[in-house]
Symmetry: C2
Subunit: 337 residues, 2 copies
DNA sequence: GTGAAAGCGCTAACAC
DNA sequence: GTGTTAGCGCTTTCAC
């Protein structure tokens, strides 16, 4: 029955047009749900399309429309539960906006991240989202010159026309202090991280301590399990043991927990413990960790919004969108002995 | 200097050709590294391209080549650390093969997963990878009819021409038993999961127990923290407490750990504990969990290979690629008291 | 080796 | 409302 067109290929708009006995442009209109098409023709086209199993070719459409309705998302580390949740937010937002998401990962390697970006640009993405990127400022600036670009999760990497979406880390750093102080704690320590996000969290912690008339106690750690462990060790060995510890993120809090248990102490009986990011780790009942939540879904949504807006007005100055974190109290914090 | 072409657009092959004073086809050849081009012209083209900041338009190329060199990856749940690591494997393999990866997530919703697949097909992906998909068999079969398709992580969902890459769960289920028996354990219990992957793990466990002349002890749990907790509770309440527990995955093992600690017991002193998947959770020092590792990188690589091969011979029968798991012993297992 | 011409599947601008 | 025409930026015959 089918024309002798060699191996059966995906049907095109032309196939459908012939089948329905109408013009190609009519089919195009129907497929895109245009309003001004007579009902009879619309039905005919729809029937023909269904019969043939027609599916619009987005590649061709993108070429002629000179846009792909696709945004490229570069994530430096897929294993970080925080990133997975921001991606969920992006997914939601792109889906609602009729956009698609191209996801690439540079595995924390700046050179590789550069490659991924180049590939995104060749694919003509409508926008670029960088999730906590690890790349030189000039690479970012170059990208932002080509296409609407937004950095999520880092406030320290800036470039002209490159928008930023971040959690207010300084406000977030104060939340556990307020919570713990209210519970009656006086000696509240902080295990500080290193890199983007860490300094403001620490600053927020210190400011809050002062506001409560308390003496800040800070040890250096990092955003890893190991860093939290070492930091907590240092705190527990000190002459005056703190009654509460606020770790720079959940993973570090987990490390701190290890150190606390190794020391024969219990949480929250002997020491209260709080983290940051409210990842699923915090929710696990074994930990049930009080943690600071970043509104990840909202962050994803704001990132997409930033791209959409910049598409329309490419030359507006870069803008920082700050979102407010909030505390989720769980059973790792309680009143001091 | 630039021609009065309205707002500066991305340079095309034509722009470069004019600038270099050669034909468009020559530029095309040079950009793709063709061998038979004189050195002089090649340099001229390269110089012109660099000067103009030319970047090949992959959309146009895809249209004319009728292939996108892109594979669509559908992952049901980005938060599962196991998935993140398979994606890393896919990333590696696609990168090496000059392919790109389009990533979509259906958030465990069959309807949404169907939408994502449809979108992939419209985008003309060269292949489809489904990571532990949650979708009806007919959706899968329909996809496999259109494009090379491979399911990773589930052996129970089959369709004609749809390849499968899975870990040998049955072999994997035996590994902890062998390990624990060798340490001297006799009462080794299993917290079983529910859904894909769970029955073979359990079968492997039971077979191994019999091989060692031991009596299987199985309680029903699931692949969650909660499931592991409940399962372990049941085991600890029993008349004869097991000396070792093998949970169906790492998350369930974490739940089991909670129950064990709540009961005032210690790991591995009172009870040895093993998990499955060897996710980063297992590596966290707080847990240091003995776990069965699935070679995720290899699984990613095999998935890409399956697609490549089927592209060439679309009608070969569906093939199951089984990969061998291995045990990673850590400090959550030890000799019984 | 190199250039000219055709066309991938689609949308857009314009006639009717 | 509907059909016709001209490209989108590229690769690919096919001449030379």
């Amino acid at each position: 029955m089918s024309p002798p067109k060699a191996a059966s290929r995906r049907p095109t708009i032309e196939t459908v047009a012939q089948r329905a006995g109408v013009s190609k442009s009519l089919v195009s209109l129907v497929m895109r749900g245009a309003p001004n098409v007579s009902d009879a023709r619309r039905q005919a086209v729809l029937a023909a399309a269904a019969e043939l199993g027609y599916r619009p070719n987005l590649v061709a459409r993108s070429l002629v429309e000179r846009r792909t309705r696709t945004i490229g998302v570069l994530v430096n580390d897929l294993h970080n539960p925080f990133h997975a949740e921001v991606i969920d937010g992006l997914h939601e937002a792109t889906h609602e906006g009729g956009l698609r998401m191209l996801l690439g990962t540079g595995r924390r390697d700046p050179a590789m991240e550069g490659e991924v970006i180049e590939s995104f640009l060749q694919q003509d993405v409508d926008g670029l989202v960088m999730l906590s990127p690890d790349l030189p400022q000039r690479t970012l600036a170059a990208a932002a010159r080509q296409v609407p670009t937004v950095v999520v999760g880092r406030a320290d990497l800036r470039a002209p026309r490159c928008d930023i979406v971040v959690n207010d880390d300084e406000a977030g750093g104060a939340l556990p202090v307020d919570h713990l102080a209210e519970l009656g704690h006086r000696r509240i320590a902080h295990i500080a991280g290193v890199g983007a996000g860490a300094p403001p969290r620490r600053a927020g912690y210190e400011a809050a301590m002062q506001r409560h008339g308390l003496e800040p106690i800070v040890v250096q750690g990092d955003f890893t399990d190991e860093g939290g462990y070492e930091g907590a060790r240092a705190l527990l060995d000190a002459a005056q043991r703190p009654s509460a510890i606020f770790a720079c993120n959940d993973l570090a809090a987990l490390g701190a927990l290890t150190a606390i248990e190794e020391a024969g102490l219990s949480v929250p009986g002997d020491i209260s413990l709080a983290g940051y990011d409210n990842t699923y780790l915090a929710r696990v009942r074994h930990l049930s960790l009080t943690s600071v939540d970043q509104p990840r879904t909202e962050m994803g949504r704001l990132a997409v919004q930033a791209i959409t807006e910049r598409r329309e007005r490419p030359d507006t100055p870069a803008r920082v969108r700050l979102v407010a974190p909030h505390l989720v109290a769980r059973s790792s914090t309680g009143a001091p002995r």
